[in-house]
């Protein structure tokens, strides 16, 4: 080996590499297009490897993990009250909704129940984070299809909701407001009336989107019949949330899991759509935003008085055991499986995030569509990168 000079060896290697490259380039059975990890349609760092024949997709494969932050491991070295700070950042658009199922799981292990007022306020804020999350989707779908104006309206009207969340919790995006046994503090004065006017603005925004996008012929031609997911396939792939309901499956944890917060106390409806296409997913989310505004209004009307914190020991030690609690988060079913060995922190936490499962349908649903439809489908499936990678 030493007899061959080093530069000669290098020339040989690079020659081999060039040959290999030529052979790859001469292949004519399609083109590989990397959509992402840096691409505006993935709003984050999702990567989708597509094989294209012209503009038609032969196969698409999502690659995730570019934003993995190791939350499941990180929570093992933190105490229970510290954990809500971390898990706020999983689905960063609807942060408060991330805290709730974890706190509920911890409460279940400790056999504590939060007082009714705390439960109701939790539900109100849960629905408000749903609105804050989904309004952005309603505008963003327009951007992905080329109508830039819609997203600015979404940002404008989401602001009203975020302001209310900030007024109550002190944090716009990461409230860290939920506590084991109750809440950090009570609602500020005048908050209820202001929130109601914010809900009016949300409803007006929904009407606006309905005329601006949903009623637009071009939007319909771009979204109808694109990315159809039949109910059976959706169930097999473990889809949840609006993606599942848009395929006609009437399943909503807010209604179907009993004794969860205060949803059973108010009158509301689960929206489904039989089509299962991108249009249906948009439509269902739009209706859900309206419904969420109605839920908030009704809850605020009947807000019970009383304490916001149950009797909880000063140093929280969770007794040994296992608990699983999942809720209907803005993106779908989110659940925490908490294993405790009786320490200050959990032994193991498994986080079930909706986007991770929702994105798993990408290879199935993207076979044979065109490149612009890839964007439509990605936008309508609606994922948050932090929710995929945790």
């Amino acid at each position: 080996m030493s007899a061959v000079p080093q530069n000669q060896q290098r020339a040989y290697v690079s020659g081999q590499a060039a040959d290999a490259r030529v052979n790859v380039e001469l292949e004519t059975d399609g083109m590989t297009l990397n959509i992402g990890p840096q691409h505006p349609a993935t709003h984050g760092t999702l990567r989708i490897i597509t094989r294209l024949d012209g503009e038609q997709v032969i196969s698409a494969e999502p690659v995730m993990g570019y934003m993995h932050r190791g939350y499941e491991k990180l929570v093992e070295v933190r105490t229970y009250p510290q954990i809500t700070t971390l898990i706020n950042r999983i689905d960063w658009l609807g942060s408060f909704a991330n805290e709730v199922p974890f706190i509920l799981a911890a409460e279940q292990l400790m056999e504590i129940e939060a007082p009714p007022r705390a439960q109701w306020i939790r539900t109100v804020l849960f629905e408000m984070s749903r609105i804050a999350n989904i309004t952005l989707f309603l505008g963003d779908m327009g951007v992905q299809l080329g109508a830039i104006t819609a997203v600015f309206y979404a940002f404008r009207d989401r602001e009203h909701v975020l302001n209310q969340i900030e007024a109550a919790t002190g944090g716009r995006f990461h409230p860290n407001y939920d506590r084991i046994g109750g809440l950090k503090e009570d609602l500020p004065k005048g908050w209820v009336a202001e929130t109601k006017s914010a809900m009016d603005k949300v409803r007006r925004f929904c009407d606006e989107m309905e005329t601006l996008l949903l009623g637009n012929e071009i939007f319909e031609t771009r979204a109808r019949g694109i990315g159809v997911i039949p109910a059976e396939i959706a169930l097999n792939y473990g889809l949840s949330g609006a993606n599942l309901r848009a395929s006609g499956v009437d399943w909503d944890l807010r209604r179907d899991s009993p004794n969860l917060l205060a949803w059973s106390e108010v009158d509301w409806k689960v929206w489904t759509h039989p089509d299962g296409d991108s249009f249906a997913r948009y439509w269902v989310r739009l209706q859900e935003t309206r419904e969420a505004a109605n839920i908030v209004d009704q809850l605020l009307d009947g807000l019970p008085s009383g304490p916001i914190m149950a009797k909880v020991p000063r140093i929280i030690k969770v007794p040994a055991g296992e608990a699983w609690v999942s809720t209907e988060n803005p993106l779908g079913e989110m659940g925490y499986y908490v294993v405790s060995k009786g320490d200050l922190g959990p032994f193991r936490v498994k986080i079930r995030t909706p986007s991770f499962n929702n994105i798993s349908i990408v290879p199935w649903v993207m076979k044979g569509v065109y490149v612009p439809d890839v964007i439509t489908i990605l936008a309508s499936l609606y994922f948050i990168l932090g929710d995929i990678d945790r």
């Binding site: 297009l33 503009e55 327009g142 299809l145 080329g146 600015f152 309206y153 771009r222 065109y370 964007i375």
Partner: protein, 343 residues
């Protein structure tokens, strides 16, 4: 000539070239500042640029200055000569468009007999530049953008030309100056008070022209070659600095030129009642201002659509063009021909 001194041909040519060189960037700047910066911002409940100059009026200087400082980059495997030539080709087509647009009885760089034909022909050169850019960039997104632009050309060029045919039949002229004259001297049901802007008879042609223009300028709802959310920026994706600026100059300069063409063909051009069609200092001075106002009106329509609508898919554009726009344009031509013969 309105000028007192006789100029040699080369002197006149130099003046004309300089005038076009000044007018194109100015027109582009006005379009970008008015519509892209301010109107879009106000439509989207934003303020847009506010810091540079009064109400952000000098923002473009800052932006232009920034672009000029940037390094000109080319990808490793790009076809460098074609890559650097492409923006110039796009810009060339915009410059040529301005040559035939009349802004007064004598204020026109070159009043060709086949003015409108020339304008539509040179506007297609830009697609060549876009295809060159897409191919030479050695980037898959750029290539797809370039090919989409080429595919789009077939779909919208035909309605664009057919929409104009109605105007040409009615005016009996291909020269843009002649079309303005025909509108100025025409009469609506015998009342010649405001002349006869062709929009009253050619309203279908006007609508078709606006739709096709939208595609020609690669703006939403027909911006598939650029498509920020799909192809990131299509054929522009590898360009930086001055060359990127060239593409923008080309795009918005063409937006101004096409609005001016529409204003000339359908809204009476530089003529308003009271002006002398045949010449005179007043007409030559007021004409450009009148044309500018009308152009901005048309541009407002074009940009209103741009900021509102989502984007069609490439195949949907083809369907739309072949099954709807072209038959409609043919019917329009037929009707115009019948009326021309009957009346």
């Amino acid at each position: 000539m309105i000028l007192a001194v006789e100029l040699a041909y080369w002197q006149l040519l130099l003046i004309k070239v300089l005038a076009v060189m000044v007018i194109v960037p100015t027109a582009t700047a006005v379009i970008v500042q008015t519509f892209l910066f301010k109107m879009m911002a106000h439509m989207q409940s934003r303020l847009g640029p506010m810091e540079a100059g009064p109400h952000g009026a000098l923002q473009l200087l800052a932006d232009g200055g920034k672009f000029l400082q940037k390094e000109l980059l080319a990808p490793d495997r790009a076809d460098r000569r074609v890559f650097f030539l492409a923006p110039a080709v796009v810009l060339l087509s915009t410059f040529l468009l301005f040559v035939v647009i009349p802004a007064g009885p004598n204020v026109v760089a070159e009043d060709l007999d086949i003015g409108i034909f020339f304008a539509l022909a040179v506007s297609s050169i830009s697609v060549l530049g876009i295809l060159m850019a897409g191919w030479a960039s050695a980037n898959k997104y750029a290539l797809m953008g370039g090919l989409r632009a080429a595919g789009q050309l077939i779909a919208y060029e035909l309605p664009l030309v057919l929409a104009v045919v109605g105007v040409v039949i009615q005016a009996g002229e291909l020269s843009l100056q002649g079309i303005v004259r025909a509108q100025a001297e025409g009469a609506i049901f015998g009342v010649g008070l405001i002349g006869q802007p062709f929009i009253f008879t050619q309203f279908i042609g006007f609508a078709l022209f606006l739709v096709a223009t939208q595609a020609e300028l690669t703006q939403p709802p027909f911006d598939m070659p650029i498509a920020e959310s799909e192809l990131v920026a299509g054929y522009q994706v590898e360009y930086s600095g001055l060359q990127f600026l060239f593409f923008y100059l080309g795009e918005f300069g063409a937006a101004f030129a096409f609005s001016a063409l529409a204003a000339t063909m359908f809204l009476g051009g530089w003529y308003v009642p009271g002006l002398d069609v045949d010449g005179g200092l007043i007409s030559n001075l007021v004409g450009p201002a009148v044309l500018f106002v009308k152009t901005m009106l048309v541009a407002f329509l074009i940009f209103w659509i741009r900021f509102t609508y989502p984007r069609l898919r490439e195949d949907q554009l083809q369907t739309f063009a072949w099954k709807f726009l072209i038959p409609l344009a043919l019917v329009n031509i037929l009707a115009t021909g019948v009326f021309k013969v009957v009346f």
